[in-house]
Symmetry: C2
Subunit: 454 residues, 2 copies
């Protein structure tokens, strides 16, 4: 595995022309007390350049050399955590020189260094101490800015090893969704389906790439409750993705009927979302602007709602007024890589091309990506339609609702709360490849996958 990482480090150093770089792996974070931690997850920047999660390690790139500084292992460590890798083995596996952390301060010998803030405060404090300046998220020195931009340039375009990892994450994510559809039947709880979905992810040796959403309340966009019971008439929305052992994310949403049969109203909405998703995926190709993909999907959704009679008026005028956000209040997707929202630790610097900034408009303000697509980028495409009480009753937005929504028609779709369909899409030289295409999404296929087992 180290060849890819050696090449990444070489490219990074080349871009930075001699600036030394310190990248921290990060530390374990306490759950309820210091010795009871969450599972360790190394910084994505560190994983990108080293390929292995090594707690508390620091990577120094300097004068063309890559050196890993690692904690010295005590007898206590060996007793509680096992023998671990010898530094020589680690050197062979990573292609880095390996030294213990006690030598790091000397190795820095007061030179100007670029770094990126770790996500945990213990490591950030250590970075601040080593560099003798305050290190905080989204706060950069001139060197840090150059490093952030160089990392973004590299990580935006996935190399062969990264694509292989994304494929692995997609394959495990497929197992999860297949298991979820199989486990669905009226009377079980959301937590039962969640457990069935996470089982193959844990079995694969990875973790979920983000907190799973498995809910009959699809209109709660980031629901992390699992205590609802599935009723026969419900739709179940599952937004669940595996993280590969190497740390790359899958991110897939499917929405399926608990009974194994969509009601006519559910199916009508579902087909609108699916059509919008397919059109948006078709638009993914080199040179396409991601904002346009978002607007295309929005237009398709509005057209669909007009055809159903739920929205009144001319689709393009409705779009101009922002009516789509009443039913589709989030962005069409985001970058995908080692983070499920790739490089979101660097803020919109990663997601937005230079000179572009987030809109202030409701809905569009949640769009996490506005770049022109290039081969090697991976993005999600995830349109949805939702009936969100907080939107329909919102003091401002409810005026738009009153003006454009046909309440009589809307009531016919009251057995829809939220539908989202999301896939992971790689931009190729000639267009795109849907990495998660093995996960069924045609209404009939979804019904069969649920129904066969219930």
């Amino acid at each position: 595995m180290s060849a890819a990482h050696i090449e990444r480090r070489r490219k990074l150093m080349q871009k930075l022309r001699g600036t030394a770089v310190l990248i921290a792996a990060g530390a374990r974070v306490p759950r309820n007390y210091r010795a009871n931690t969450y599972p360790f997850r190394a910084s994505s920047h560190f994983l990108y350049l080293v390929g292995r999660p090594i707690e508390n390690a620091m990577l120094l790139l300097s004068d063309g050399d890559a050196t890993l500084f690692v904690p010295e292992r005590t007898t206590d460590d060996a007793l509680w955590d096992g023998p671990g890798l010898a530094n020589e083995e680690l050197a062979t596996l990573t292609g880095c020189k390996v030294r213990t952390l006690e030598h790091l301060q000397d190795a820095l010998h007061g030179r100007a260094l670029a770094t990126l803030a770790a996500s945990d405060t213990i490591t950030r404090d250590e970075q601040s101490r080593l560099l003798a300046r305050a290190i905080a998220p989204l706060t950069y020195s001139k060197e840090d800015e150059a490093l952030a931009d160089a990392m973004i340039e590299l990580r935006l375009v996935h190399d062969a090893q990264a694509i292989e990892e994304l494929r692995r994450a997609a394959a495990t994510t497929e197992l999860a969704h297949r298991a979820g559809m199989s486990a669905t039947r009226a009377g079980v709880r959301e937590s039962d389906v969640r457990a069935a979905m996470e089982h193959p992810i844990l079995a694969d040796g990875g973790a979920t790439a983000y907190g799973s959403i498995v809910t009959v309340h699809g209109e709660v966009l980031h629901s992390n409750d699992y205590d609802g019971t599935l009723a026969a008439g419900d739709l179940l929305l599952a937004d669940v993705g595996a993280e590969s052992v190497g740390g790359f994310a899958g991110d897939v949403t499917r929405t399926w009927p608990v009974s194994g049969r969509f009601s006519p109203s559910q199916r009508a909405y579902y087909e609108v979302v699916l059509r919008a998703q397919k059109r948006a995926i078709e638009a993914v190709k080199p040179g396409a602007r991601y904002l346009d993909v978002h607007l295309l999907a929005s237009t398709e959704l509005v057209k669909g709602l007009c055809e159903l009679g739920v929205l009144r008026g001319d689709p393009s005028e409705l779009i101009a007024e922002g009516v789509q956000a009443l039913f589709f209040p989030h962005g069409i997707g985001h970058l995908l890589g080692l983070d499920v929202h790739d490089m979101e630790d660097l803020g919109d610097r990663a997601g937005y091309a230079k000179g572009r900034t987030r809109s202030k408009q409701f809905g569009l303000c949640y769009l996490r990506l506005d770049r022109d697509l290039v081969p090697g980028m991976a993005v999600t495409i995830e349109p949805g339609l939702y009936h969100v009480p907080a939107i329909f009753s919102h003091p401002e937005l409810s005026k738009l609702v009153a003006k454009h929504v046909n309440q009589t028609e809307l009531k016919k779709y009251s057995d829809v709360r939220g539908i989202r369909i999301e896939d992971d899409v790689l931009v190729t030289q000639t267009g795109h490849e849907v990495l998660t295409r093995a996960i069924v999404k045609e209404a009939g296929d979804v019904e069969r996958a649920v129904g066969a087992q219930s």
Copy 2:
């Protein structure tokens, strides 16, 4: 559920005689970037007094009143996280007054307050700001000390609601171990068994109480790797516990043969550990000193190894030299409650009675509890025998090994790496109750539970 929590708050205020108390629920912690967090786990002190995990909330006990200060909910929150509970509902469910956090600073109006440091730094910074003094783990003002002691006094003796929660955790933990034994067969990976064990825990709606240990390398005490493949001759050690929805921990270890049959050497070691565990459990009763339970188990283990011929010499002399720690390097167990090592955030103040401190001796230095047992305490009893390379090759300890270990006999047991048997035990008025007694542990029962499915 609120009656128990109202009573706990009343008792706490009574013990503190008028000192006001601020208890923080804690904040979500980033995994790889700010918006991608680990699952939220509220502070155990907060859960003990409030019964519900409420992110970023603060509980103020003052002048006989309990007031929950909660974040104000924005439209954004409603969109992404759902409507949540209205403050009136929360007040009814918890028996607290409920106000928004913006009113907290005024409510404190400069008075002396006791608090306990949250485990996350964001919350600790907020505590420091509100109290205008540095709040850090294990660093107490006089008021904080009184609060810590009062919380310990309360939480040491589980009330009926806490015992009910511990029973629930034990019941789910049983499902996990049953599933683990069922899923075991040669050729599958540790991660497959781990996934099978965590499935019923997730399905129940809770979480694991700590990072699961599922390993053929039982001699690595806190192994968190799951990538090993199970071979027919291996023992699999599984230390896996469920956390109840209310936040209370189960903590159980079983060790079983992958093939469904212990080899004679494995079975001989297993019976030594099991006998020591049973003797130790028998010793759990009101008035017993936990250190003595540890020493009793140590003696039984040494006796067993002498009978097998692995150790040479007189058991009581071996114990006096600390030889037990060569094979049993950890403590016999710890407090169990809302934390798997209950109240370990308060250091040995919780685990050690006043006037008692940790031994410096290898092995004994890891004993987390030395109190006289009283009815209502819950503890684990978890003896083990391990062949730890880091101990056998340790510069100091290897002298003890050379002196007392019969290498010829030891070699006969080389298919044992580590065996631990752990149960959760409640001290009752007349003796004890094993909360996890439904989980099989007789060698024959374990063989059947594994073998029936392989």
